[in-house]
Subunit: 350 residues, 2 copies
């Protein structure tokens, strides 16, 4: 397998807390050279979990399809942590098989984003987390019904009490917990980061060459920082207009400004090998295609076949340690938990 699987021993805590984002030191990161501190890309740091009970609750909620009307769709359905935090679909499938309007961005390293969603309409992960639950074309529920459902599940009532010290479950608590879990979903220790930290053997000559080209040709103007993107909005189609069928207009939907049309949040390139297909419309199937199109419409560059391959090789070195945790167990519904309504059929007999 090309991507790494990680062999960490999870700390087992009495309350079944799961270590998130913790990682063993790699022997390979033993510095063989000086760390490169003047690069436009910086290494990703491991997550610092200050409230493991909150994170554990957020993990359960993240995996819980009872936050959807159908009882079938969870956060993990479209931001699948077995698949780079995405669904690997052009656009997502929502309630009743609704075709989503936009490509699901990865949840990995999303805490490093300047804002959430492609158009940045949510300021942070907590604000974002409430969106899909109440979106009729995504989880198809309401905040009120989601909270009402959780409040009838004895295991959750106990956990919310433990974590928040209150008997009343609120959407604010729900989204806070999900965001706390998502903040642990960082991917340190990529080969590129090992290289940045001084291990000159962590990259091949081709990968280094690809990185040099990535810098010199201007990609790095937008794709920089620890997340190699995620920290600005930029126009899709600077030199040449982008041609696609998507109706998404980007940042303009938030600001109302014509100047923001087709301005999208620059996606992170971390774990980019796993987060295909690419762009807000998912129209680029392969990394090679994405590099070709970006070079041409953003930079006016037609990369040669070799140059394209070099950049792709560099990009694949950005895959870091994937979040490693035990599949969470969800507390069973109680007798008063409303039945999911996937088909809007008559309610289940009670």
């Amino acid at each position: 397998m090309k991507h790494k699987i990680f062999t960490l021993v999870l700390t087992t805590l009495v309350a079944a807390l799961v270590g998130c984002g913790q990682k063993a030191d790699s022997a390979k990161t033993a510095a063989l050279g000086k760390p490169m501190t003047d690069e436009p890309i910086q290494p990703i740091n491991a997550a610092n979990v200050s409230n493991p009970a909150l994170v554990q609750l957020g993990m359960q909620l993240y995996f819980d399809p009872r936050l959807s009307k159908s009882g079938f769709i969870s956060c993990n359905s479209c931001h699948n942590l077995s698949m780079g935090g995405t669904d690997n679909l052009k656009t997502s499938i929502g309630h009743k098989w609704n075709q989503g309007p936009i490509n699901a961005p990865t949840v990995l390293n999303s805490s490093l984003n300047v804002a959430q969603f492609w158009d940045g309409r949510a300021a942070d992960l907590k604000e974002q987390a409430g969106g899909p639950i109440a979106n009729p074309g995504e989880m198809g529920f309401t905040h009120e019904l989601a909270v009402k459902t959780l409040a009838t599940i004895p295991g959750y009532v106990e956990e919310f009490k433990k974590v928040f010290g209150t008997d009343k479950i609120t959407i604010d608590e729900v989204t806070k917990a999900i965001a706390a879990f998502e903040e642990t979903l960082v991917t340190p220790n990529s080969r590129f980061d090992q290289w940045l930290k001084g291990d000159k053997n962590a990259l091949t000559a081709q990968e280094v060459q690809g990185y040099e080209l990535f810098k010199n040709s201007g990609c790095v103007a937008c794709h920089n920082g620890p997340a190699v993107g995620g920290n600005s909005f930029q126009k899709m189609g600077v030199v040449e207009p982008y041609k696609g069928d998507s109706k998404a207009e980007g940042r303009a939907a938030v600001t109302g400004k014509d100047a923001d049309r087709f301005n999208f949040k620059v996606p992170t390139l971390r774990n980019i090998e796993m987060t295909y297909p690419y762009f807000h419309d998912g129209e680029a199937k392969t990394l090679s295609q994405a590099v070709e199109i970006m070079g041409r419409i953003q930079l006016g560059r037609n990369f040669s076949k070799e140059e394209n391959a070099d950049i792709v090789a560099f990009l694949k070195s950005l895959t870091g340690d994937q979040p490693s945790f035990k599949l969470p167990q969800l507390p069973p519904s109680g007798p008063d938990t409303p039945s999911p309504q996937p088909f809007d059929a008559k309610p289940v007999k009670k």
Copy 2:
């Protein structure tokens, strides 16, 4: 949380194998009395994993939505291992939101079943595993396309080679691996099993009373053995016909015999607290309802409120250690991997 979460340290193997079904000895199982060897229910044994690489491959396939046409539905979608190996829906959601005809039975302890599916149409787990992949209303794919997809994923090609020693991926290998994983999904160490093994403190007086009633009133005639069911086909509605809207006719669909109409495989009662709603049509929402209906139509018994509560209390003691493993990471698709077709739209540009 009422159900247990398990605090085992997973053995971490170089090949990222995950220990399945392994469990720590519970201090509570230290025998305080003589094991009860003459009971109609026997304890569940932990899984004995002889080929961990095969199990690991099967786990990945179990979680991989690329075995479906849409790229969205995996085995775990309807047999969710965070939720008792079921979807907790009356009937399942399949390809394009198809409403399934029957309640998804739990995958937990399914290796103990006399046959698979409610009507027993598959002899074993291996045969079962191929069914949903090719069912137009479930995963909506074909065996040929599923295998073709896997064969373009470099990580899988490598793993199949390692596990089966061949370059050619076949559906036979795919279903063999999934079945090997499923065989590890047993749930030992329930409080009831601890009690059977001699720990008299493992059950409350009410739970013991419920068990005695369960035996004496005849439930145990069908719900017996290690899985507390799963080992015979029985008519739904012995004393009184079962009234429901489901068109499923059970075993008759396999044998063609009129005598087998409404004969269904007796479901396991292991982890029954987690596998709601109940019956082949999912019409019983709560355990209390299920006990009431079963008593009446199978045994001609009208359990009092107290009796019903006692039996329910006993049934909840059958929840065992849930499978405990790290969420698997799936190998990324390659450049030639066919794009999923959730919407039958035009193919993604290549």
